[in-house]
């Protein structure tokens, strides 16, 4: 367990190897192997650490490994006098982070395996670059999860933001992809702004950034009935979470993130990145439990996001976009759970509160399984259709790719919440706690569940069932192709063929077309001839699908609720992570948590409440109700999209207004474009004008002044100084006209003058004497 610091380091090493050496000199097998090996090692270490964690008694499952100072102590002013600002490189393993590292490394490992096959169309350097980024992504996510202080978490937090930018914009030659990368990065920055402000305020308030210290300090403070400093911290942290976890209003980047390669979508949506916000709220459960106002905000935002994203998902045609909105929707569920947990805790209902927090984390885990499965499955479909993502051009793929069909069906049933798959348990846990806390939120949750079942089954129906509506394909031999078309079986010879035939028509594609002629490329047996029709994906892709399908079936069994005779093992395991150290579950079992006492002190009316409780029979009834809701959704989708597609079209035309509103995602992107983007552009134009007029004006003005002064000085020089000189010259010149007459040049004249002079002088001499 003291080696947990190696868990993030291993993918970091893998990224370094692939990034520094691999891009230049590794072939595809080597770079894939390095990346997968790094993840496998991290996964092995995670399992080992987790097993060790399980071996400890329940109240001792919290282990911190301190690797020394990152920032040595600096005295800083805080609310409680001079505090010591210090940040160690410390990693913390507790039930919550233990579960998270298993999810990140486990799902991440499967996605790595899958990518080795999916990305084979990439050129060699791009392939290594891709795996370098994937490993880096896992590295930062593991830092985020394992970090034991806010700042260590922030390192990972920023790192996954960076990696999401790199991976979404992986096909950077394509404008839409690089735009989507930038959008993800910028939207995330807005959230990060809230997060870092929250971190500053945490330090100022508590004088420490360590999660445990902060939780203990917060636990001893009263629950804030009014909006106070803890509420402000929580609100800022939640802004960060909305950015990272794609909640209203910052969810817009996630659907655009579909521009990245499909494994990236799976990695972002399932194992890493978007779960960071949920994880962070869970990590600070004690803080949120002291801020009931923000708890309500979290709850409402979560429920609204879940509902809104599900409605958008109802009408999208891009297979990946449907899944993207379903992710946003499911993340809404998780926040709903976190909000309910915080709200219940703040109202002195610790059992419901802790259970709701745990249910949120539980849903995070099960969602990781079935969402990774669905994304990888959709990747497999896109792969088979040579880059086609529009579900209107699919259909009947069940015949061509049975493994993908079966596994995706399991994932769909799991996300729809059909008993006994994973999604059923986690979603029901959330809905149950929501029912106990707030019926409105519960209602939104149930409606979302109905829509989830509907749009997921719509996706399955349009893709795998019904009639084939896609493009025709070139046949290798007329006879064989005829047979293949007639019997609807994949052609045996082209199991690995990846056609580029449709590439030009689809800008959202499965990878830029590259011509690989070298012997090394030929060695991996990856044909690149014309598209030979839909086909099952290679084993490296189906194997992770099957593993994830098994996960999607069994992941729920780790926490069967008591009503069904289970022990809710995972929830009880996770619960200590959501309490402060001194306030373990044992303490709250006894009488009431300090939080509850604080509430009792501040608002006696609240304290009079017993924890809302319903019988096991009623709980079973709720479960049956939600399964029934899911079944209604499924049947409706099946009727509309398989049995009578014309009904769906008719409905679409009848409610064209609503359809357009949903199809265009409530015009939120346009709204943001018109307000924030255009506003930013306008203000920058204004600033440019200021720069041009005022700053440049000042510079130009001083230049002009200099020119003017020098002009004046030149006038003085020309007319005063030169004038004086010229005056002297002119005077002598003018006077010479008179005096030069004397110089006749005639010697006799001179002699005569001399004589006259002599005469004059002699006369003077004689006269004056």
């Amino acid at each position: 367990m003291d080696l947990i610091w190696l868990i993030p380091i291993l993918p970091g090493i893998g990224a370094a190897i692939n990034g520094l050496v691999g891009i230049r000199s590794f072939n595809r097998q080597t770079s894939g192997l390095v990346a997968c090996a790094a993840m496998a090692a991290a996964l092995g270490l995670s399992i080992y650490a987790f097993a060790e964690l399980l071996g400890l008694p329940a109240d001792a499952r919290d282990h911190v490994v301190d690797l020394g100072y990152w920032i040595p102590p600096i005295p800083l002013q805080t609310a409680q006098g001079i505090g010591s600002f210090e940040v160690p490189w410390a990693f913390r393993l507790d039930p919550l982070s233990g579960m998270m590292i298993l999810v990140v490394t486990g799902i991440g490992f499967l996605i790595h395996i899958y990518s080795t096959a999916y990305m084979l169309d990439e050129p060699r350097g791009g392939y290594a670059r891709f795996f370098c980024y994937l490993n880096l992504f896992c590295f930062f996510m593991l830092i985020l999860v394992l970090g034991s202080t806010f700042l260590t978490m922030f390192v990972g937090w920023e790192g996954v933001g960076l990696c999401s930018y790199l991976l979404i914009g992986y096909w950077y030659e394509k404008k839409s992809a690089s735009d989507a990368g930038k959008k993800a990065f910028l939207v995330n920055r807005i959230g990060d702004w809230g997060f870092i402000l929250g971190v500053f305020l945490v330090f100022y308030t508590f004088g420490s950034l360590d999660f445990r210290v902060v939780a203990n300090a917060a636990a001893s403070m009263p629950v804030e009935a009014q909006f106070g400093v803890i509420s402000l911290i929580c609100l800022l942290l939640f802004i960060g979470a909305t950015g990272k976890s794609a909640q209203i209003p910052l969810y817009v980047w996630l659907p655009d993130a579909m521009e990245g390669p499909t494994p990236v979508s799976a990695l972002i949506h399932a194992a890493t990145m978007v779960t960071a916000g949920v994880y962070m709220v869970g990590r600070n459960a004690v803080l949120f439990g002291h801020a009931p106002i923000v708890a309500q905000v979290v709850m409402i935002v979560g429920a609204l996001t879940a509902f809104m994203a599900a409605t958008i998902g109802l009408v999208q045609y891009d297979i990946k976009r449907v899944l993207a909105y379903s992710t946003v929707s499911q993340l809404g569920y998780m926040f709903l759970a976190m909000g309910v947990g915080a709200y219940a805790t703040a109202h002195g209902w610790p059992h419901i509160g802790l259970a709701a927090f745990a249910a949120g984390a539980f849903h995070l885990m099960t969602h990781a399984f079935f969402k990774a499965l669905l994304f990888l499955g959709s990747g497999s479909v896109i792969h088979a259709m040579a880059g086609e993502q529009d579900m209107r051009r699919m259909g009947d793929l069940r015949r061509y790719m049975p493994v993908t069909y079966m596994t995706m069906m399991i994932g769909t049933l799991a996300i729809a919440g059909i008993f006994p798959l994973a999604g059923f348990f986690s979603k029901d846990e959330i809905l149950f706690r929501a029912f106990l806390t707030n019926k409105m939120i519960w209602g939104l949750g149930v409606m979302t569940a109905l829509m989830t079942a509907f749009y997921m089954f719509r996706l399955m129906s349009m893709t795998f069932l019904g009639k084939y509506r896609g493009a025709a394909w070139e046949h290798t031999t007329p006879a064989a192709s005829h047979a293949a078309a007639a019997h609807g079986v994949p052609h045996p010879a082209d199991a690995h063929a990846h056609g580029q035939a449709n590439k030009a028509q689809h800008d959202v594609s499965h990878g830029p077309a590259h011509d690989h002629g070298s012997a090394q490329d030929a060695a991996h047996g990856h044909g690149h001839g014309p598209w030979h029709g839909p086909h099952e994906s290679p084993q490296a892709m189906t194997l992770p699908l099957m593993v994830l399908a098994v996960g999607a079936i069994v992941a729920g069994f780790v926490s069967i609720p008591p009503a069904l005779g289970g022990g809710a093992v995972l929830e009880h395991f996770l619960e200590p992570s959501f309490t402060a150290q001194e306030v373990g579950l044992a303490a709250s079992e006894g009488a009431a948590a300090p939080a509850a006492e604080a509430v009792a002190a501040t608002s006696p009316a609240e304290a009079a409440h017993e924890e809302p409780h319903i019988s096991h029979a009623a709980e079973l009834g709720l479960m049956a109700f939600s399964v029934m809701i899911a079944l209604i959704g499924i049947v409706a989708a099946y009727r509309l999209y398989v049995l009578s597609p014309q009904t769906a079209d008719g409905l679409k035309e009848r409610y064209a207004g609503a359809h357009n509103l949903l199809y265009n995602k409530y015009y939120v992107d346009e709204l943001y474009d018109a307000t924030f983007v255009a506003g930013t552009k306008k203000s920058s134009v204004g600033l440019w004008g200021f720069d041009r007029r005022v700053v440049d004006g000042a510079v130009n003005g001083s230049g002009w002044l200099t020119v003017f002064l020098s002009w004046v000085s030149s006038l003085i020089d020309r007319y005063v100084v030169d004038g004086a000189v010229n005056l002297v010259g002119r005077t002598s010149e003018e006077s010479s006209f008179v005096f030069r007459r004397v110089q006749t040049g005639l010697v006799q004249n001179y002699a005569l003058l001399m004589l006259a002079g002599v005469c004059v002088f002699v006369s003077i001499y004689l006269l004056v004497r």
């Binding site: 010479s736 030069r740 110089q743 040049g745 005639l746 010697v747 006799q748 002699a751 005569l752 004589l755």
Partner: protein, 100 residues
């Protein structure tokens, strides 16, 4: 009896004739000869007073003047010849090169 006054009168007359010749004549040769008259007028004065005062220095001076006048005549005639070759005239009015 011829007195020094007579000599001085003769000398003054010659001198005035020479000066008038220098100032009034236009031919440079004539001017040149007038200069010789002036010099000889001086010589008469020198010799007359040498005799009167019974002192040989005056005669020495007269001979010295004659020698200088001979040298001067040689140089002057050379200049006139050179000038004549260039200008084809000996009229002094043409010689105004020193003018402004």
């Amino acid at each position: 009896m011829i007195t020094p006054t007579h000599y001085m009168l003769l000398s003054a007359a010659l001198f005035m004739i020479g000066v008038a010749g220098v100032l009034l004549r236009r031919n440079i040769i004539v001017i040149f000869m007038s200069i010789e008259l002036i010099l000889n007028a001086v010589n008469i004065n020198l010799v007359a007073f040498s005799y009167q005062l019974q002192n040989g220095i005056g005669q020495v001076f007269a001979i010295f003047v004659i020698a200088v006048a001979a040298a001067e005549a040689a140089v002057g005639l050379g200049i006139i010849l050179a000038f004549y070759r260039n200008k084809e005239t000996v009229n002094i009015d043409e010689m105004n090169l020193m003018r402004w």
